[in-house]
Symmetry: D2
Subunit: 325 residues, 4 copies
Amino acid sequence: MIITVSRSADLGQVRRTLAGLGLWVAAPERRDDGDTLLVVQSSSTSIELDLIRAVPGVVGISKPESAHPRVDGHGPVAVVGKRSVSRDEPILISGPCSVESPEQIERIARSLREKGVTFLRGGAFKPRTSPYAFQGRGPDALSWLRAAADACGMAVVTEVLSEHDVSTVAEHAEVLQIGSRNMHNYALLKAVGKVGKPVLLKRSMAATVEEWLLAGEYLLSHGSGSVMFCERGVRTFDETTRNLLDLGAVALLAHVHNLPVIVDPSHGTGRRDLIVPLARAALAAGAAGVMIEVHDRPEEAQSDAPQALHPDALAPVLSSLRGAS
Amino acid sequence: MIITVSRSADLGQVRRTLAGLGLWVAAPERRDDGDTLLVVQSSSTSIELDLIRAVPGVVGISKPESAHPRVDGHGPVAVVGKRSVSRDEPILISGPCSVESPEQIERIARSLREKGVTFLRGGAFKPRTSPYAFQGRGPDALSWLRAAADACGMAVVTEVLSEHDVSTVAEHAEVLQIGSRNMHNYALLKAVGKVGKPVLLKRSMAATVEEWLLAGEYLLSHGSGSVMFCERGVRTFDETTRNLLDLGAVALLAHVHNLPVIVDPSHGTGRRDLIVPLARAALAAGAAGVMIEVHDRPEEAQSDAPQALHPDALAPVLSSLRGAS
Amino acid sequence: MIITVSRSADLGQVRRTLAGLGLWVAAPERRDDGDTLLVVQSSSTSIELDLIRAVPGVVGISKPESAHPRVDGHGPVAVVGKRSVSRDEPILISGPCSVESPEQIERIARSLREKGVTFLRGGAFKPRTSPYAFQGRGPDALSWLRAAADACGMAVVTEVLSEHDVSTVAEHAEVLQIGSRNMHNYALLKAVGKVGKPVLLKRSMAATVEEWLLAGEYLLSHGSGSVMFCERGVRTFDETTRNLLDLGAVALLAHVHNLPVIVDPSHGTGRRDLIVPLARAALAAGAAGVMIEVHDRPEEAQSDAPQALHPDALAPVLSSLRGAS
Amino acid sequence: MIITVSRSADLGQVRRTLAGLGLWVAAPERRDDGDTLLVVQSSSTSIELDLIRAVPGVVGISKPESAHPRVDGHGPVAVVGKRSVSRDEPILISGPCSVESPEQIERIARSLREKGVTFLRGGAFKPRTSPYAFQGRGPDALSWLRAAADACGMAVVTEVLSEHDVSTVAEHAEVLQIGSRNMHNYALLKAVGKVGKPVLLKRSMAATVEEWLLAGEYLLSHGSGSVMFCERGVRTFDETTRNLLDLGAVALLAHVHNLPVIVDPSHGTGRRDLIVPLARAALAAGAAGVMIEVHDRPEEAQSDAPQALHPDALAPVLSSLRGAS
């Protein structure tokens, strides 16, 4: 946004007034005609344009068209079957990192369902940094996951990695997950968009907020009905947590962009001892839900065991969810 | 921490068991004698060493001495005069970015005190990126700040920038603030430590958690009684918030290092529309308090007006504080 | 790497000797048996293990197995048809960001070929942050690119975005490019690996060096013959250049890992006024080649025109290349 | 910079023409009066404003006043006594991390002087992350350093950490160094500026280019005669080098801002095996000099031994310097 200030105005006074309204403006630029242009920075508070127009001395405002009109029109609710997901009705998505056997996923699903969890996650295809690491049990795991969810009356959230697997995953899941490593994989976004199902879109580890929203626009413009934006931590210079969970971006999407945001404190911290406090912080920041990895026998887990909570450890998160809704 | 696994153990089993306990271990390293060494990564869950010793096949554990013994012994409470600051008794520190006049600071102090705020912040010396920007009103502002606090029965928190000003600031304030730009200014840390007063130590915009703790060690080893660690956001690649507030680090210091942490969502986001949700998120993550900039006439403020809340906007934060304590 | 120091050694002396050899070691960890373990940090100079074994007091060294044995065995030369690419025979890869018409690409190809350039790049499929931006001319552009290269006797380097396009791209190009946004797209890496052709693998904007090498391992373990690692800048907090070109990583891959590295100063800086000095710096750091976007009519270009050099501006780079080879 | 485009112009054509000139412009903003404003991004090529004014349809350009007029007027040469330092006359600054004894510094100084090095560096006051680490030999070391330099006819470059030490350091050194941890220490910048001597100003590990230039403005506006800007690497997410050396920023300061830049590849990489290639890359990028830590007996060094080269290893750098000048 750029504000034009009349050459006859008291520029200092105008700038103080704009700052008083919550706007950070860049250094003033005087045009040849004597008017001054002020670029409003993107970290400014979002306010009604009429408040700016009313400032004496302001003679013009311009604003670029949004690059993501469908995301802007999405609204705060994601619809998954008959369920609504929003800040007012926040959810817990839980399950193991990997679906390892029919028994494992059914056992965990039952345990979660008893506690009131209705969204079951589990990985069938796993994106691994090393080509030699466990890559998931594939299509079989999808069937086991579906069966477990059906047995318990739960909805399935699971990741799709390859364009070739989109239709199979869509047959087995209520929500397709785009992993953080694929947020910029536009071929996959298009393919997933085309099946029209709700999507959980993880933020890439170094994506700006704008790039994340544009990835959502790819999905919506190709056919997705609902998108849940999932923050899982960005990459930075400290090693005491696995990633840096950006709850400021969560609050921004929830309160300013009015979108449903899910927070993944499991990947966001990588530490069991921090997952619960950050899950509660996420809900306080405005999340429409949290996604937490669990395992009832973590010493048998084939991936990400160190960050898996026992299902029983979810109690304080469930209590916060009930408080929020 | 390094775990030694016997050459006769089932290494795969040992690794799964350790992962099951919450430990991320690096790739195994086999020694010439056949034993295997496993380096435990710093993003691992903090657990009792005895749990590791009890794992069959583990024949040794080693752990480096802490580089910050005084910080480790600090404990969760900061003592400021007769007040205790901790997660169990969280506080709100509030006031204007700059102390601009005796009237301004007294007016704001009264407004805050009426709402129950007992810690008054305000800048007399301002660290500014440009040498031509307003640098604060200096020693006069210190006197005005002290007078306003005394009139209202509040404690003063204010920043010191120069070694030459340490004693003057110490005469006027209950708590000396080290700003983020000076966290690595060891000459200043030593000088502030020597006066023995409580310190609010802001994290540098690119400091690791370990460096932040070591800055606290500088203070404690030179004489400070209490240190409150203040998270105000780190620098990263996104511009939609002024900084990226690292609530994972807050939870880590609060729950694992057992330290009092204050969160500054004003600098952490720079946006009025996000300050309150992030203040509440900070308390949920384990903060012992929040520091929020206010101004009752932001259009007259001489610095950081865009992020100044009106004192009346603090109500939901005060409500969260009462809920927490 | 972990070094074990005997309980009877002078630990301070051992540590000084190791530092003298170029090793950064973490804080010492004393085991129950009295020996001390020293973790060597990954930013240490690479030295022969025998130099460490010879240090009095050192009783053991352990080193994890490499996670990327095929990359370690790759060697400094990439073979592209009959050509060898290495630090000793560095190359210039050049061409437009997008292939826009048969005339455009042939005109530019001829201009480059006259100057001695033998690798022609050009985008047929473009990864764009916005779904509404120009996405490339697709399969037609591949044909135009191939025809222009054939007419001039040049090799083709072009990006593939979708698993579905791998075979078509492989039919038209000597070198398949994996873009930075797809470095973590393991489904695509596997598909590209299977066609067995040389690959130019761009580093993701936030990939560690280890992750980049592991992406190369995906390619080599699935069938690629040669991999050229391409540095194009990482994402960070400054905006005066489009990305931050990491020539330290280039030197590391070239001099320590002994791999062929191509540097892309066009994306690395985004600025015409810095491309040539950084291309020369890249060659000095150890690059096996540089990739530079050109356009002879940048005012007609459909993407990335601001960073396109005119082909005539390549002269000083070609002169550096001749000096290096 | 903001470009105003007439409502009657072909906006698409104007944007392509501006892109063709090397400018990245943000999304267009249409004003109420129908004209369009285009914000030129800071990663654009620096070009003459007249080239923009000449574009048909452009009806106005505005540019903010520079925030650092003294830096803009500094020019490419730093004057140190009778010596000139610039890209045309690049220098090598060398010496040990710490001045440890009169013998050590004199021995190293003689060795360097024989090779043609005329700027001697050495630390008397050391900024250390831990309060318990070696903090330098203080004022004694300053005398030893001065004596060694005098004996060899060299100029002294040494760091000052405390406002209290500025005058003492200024008595002993031709060039005062501001370390990266103190780039934002404005009290120190003011004190150092006042003594009027040339300054080597290291970039903070997370400083933007603009903040670095503004720190230079602090120095020049308080009295410094010459400032040499020193790049030593920024902090980021990879650990295989100690820091990430930003040679793009070096080229920018050298070629666009026309300033003398010194590069410190010792801290920039922390690895002996990469220092020489990066020193040569720095000179190719436009540096006016390089600063390299050496020690003839690194196994006796009290700090940073792993990155100390032997003086004999400087030969290829000296050869590049002779080629450049």
